[in-house]
């Protein structure tokens, strides 16, 4: 994310090049506008979800069960990072902050991501369970957000939904393969799913902000039925039960996080904080 905030970028290949505008124009959409405070807050929610999970997926590069998975999880993380950049860029414009300011210079209480996204990578099955839930949620969300009255959010959603569709497919393939594979892979898939399931409900809670953004935001509770209808047949095919048990109290949208987020942010932010303003 460092590249975007440097004005007048010059690279060795191109000699001294005056770049007359910053990379991302303030308006991502022709005729777009700066977000109001509430819209900026909503963009922050969605941007933080994408940023936190993108950062976590990057860890898998060189550590996945096979080379193709290093590449797959890396690419999925890159897509999500792209979504986060667009959303945070939009969220920050209202208060004059760049996407880098938002990513690197906020602490846990200022992050608005839901708890699902900060759950540890765990073993591969845990990461797949998290992806499975996240990709289905994001697919339903972005599908509807394309009709948002806010042109920028609609544009970001239209771009993102096609990519998230691939992520959904990737997770489904692995759920089936692990659940119907060996006894060990099945045991791990069952454990991964039941460890991640408590964080599902928070995704579908309607916070007061949503009431103020009628026609702009997607009402989270309205996604639940479609989410269940997509998830349940996959679990049935994988011969898995929908997990039951405790439900996390959530709180991510209000800045209340588990200890996991601090570790994620520490790693993500350490370089930017040690060398403020550094660029490649």
């Amino acid at each position: 994310m460092t590249e975007t905030s440097r004005p007048g970028a010059a690279t060795a290949d191109h000699g001294h090049v005056e770049v007359d505008s910053v990379v991302l124009s303030a308006e991502l959409v022709e005729g777009g506008s700066v977000a109001s405070h509430d819209v900026a807050e909503y963009a922050l929610w969605l941007g933080d979800d994408a940023l936190v999970i993108a950062q976590q997926l990057g860890w898998w590069i060189s550590r996945a069960p096979e080379l193709e998975e290093d590449v797959a999880l890396g690419n999925i993380g890159l897509d999500l990072l792209g979504h986060a950049r667009s959303l945070l860029h939009y969220a920050g414009a209202e208060s004059g902050r760049s996407e880098d300011d938002l990513a690197y210079w906020r602490d846990e209480p200022q992050f608005r991501s839901a708890h699902l996204f900060e759950q540890p990578n765990g073993d591969f099955a845990h990461t797949i369970a998290r992806q499975f839930i996240a990709a289905h949620y994001l697919f339903e969300l972005y599908t509807r957000l394309q009709a948002s009255g806010d042109a920028t959010l609609a544009a970001i959603a239209a771009k993102s939904v096609k990519e998230v569709d691939y992520h959904r497919d990737h997770a489904v393939q692995w759920i089936l393969r692990l659940a119907l594979g060996t006894d060990e892979s099945r045991r791990r898939m069952v454990t991964g799913l039941s460890d991640l399931w408590p964080y599902v409900d928070e995704l579908f809670v309607d916070e007061p902000l949503i009431d103020r953004l009628e026609g702009v935001a997607v009402r989270p509770s309205s996604l639940r039925q479609a989410f269940d209808e997509a998830i349940v047949p996959v679990l049935a095919e994988a011969e898995l039960d929908v997990p039951r048990g405790f439900i996390s109290s959530g709180g991510g949208r209000g800045g209340r996080h588990s200890e996991n987020l601090g570790f994620i942010l520490a790693e993500m932010q350490v370089l930017a904080r040690a060398h403020p303003g550094a660029s490649w």
Binding site: V23, L24, L28, V29
Partner: protein, 173 residues
Amino acid sequence: MQSVARPRPVDEASRRAWDIAAQVVDPEIPVLTIEDLGVLRSVAVGEDGAVTVSLTPTYSGCPALEAMRDDVTSALHAAGYRSVAVELVLAPAWTTDWMSEDGKAKLREYGIAAPTGHSTVRPAGAVRLQLAVKCPRCSSLNTRELARFGSTSCKALYECRDCLEPFDYFKVL
């Protein structure tokens, strides 16, 4: 959709700047220009001679976009345009449908299978249907997907069951 793929400007000054910007190539797939890809969206030269270029990303996180932006800027500077602004535009969202036929032919020649079929988002629960992908080396349709995510965001990794070579496939988006 195809009609908006390569909106070459009508006014003389902007068209001249477009033709310069249009020669910039994708750093990862150097046989394709940004015009072939459909990434170059608009070029406008103002009365004061300032150029405004709009690019759209292929995939949201594609790092090649930043190289393209720098290359467009330096190509226009080299051609004598002093003031160049490059904007990123997300809407309408890029699709492989915008890739030119010429571009698809160049891709195949380069050893990358071109996108097969048109971009659609499946309704929830629908099965992803993939048309047979033709091996760019021996033209066999007897190929299989090894990994849906390949060497860059836009590609999947395939294998030809006849000539046994692995190859990249530019997947439909």
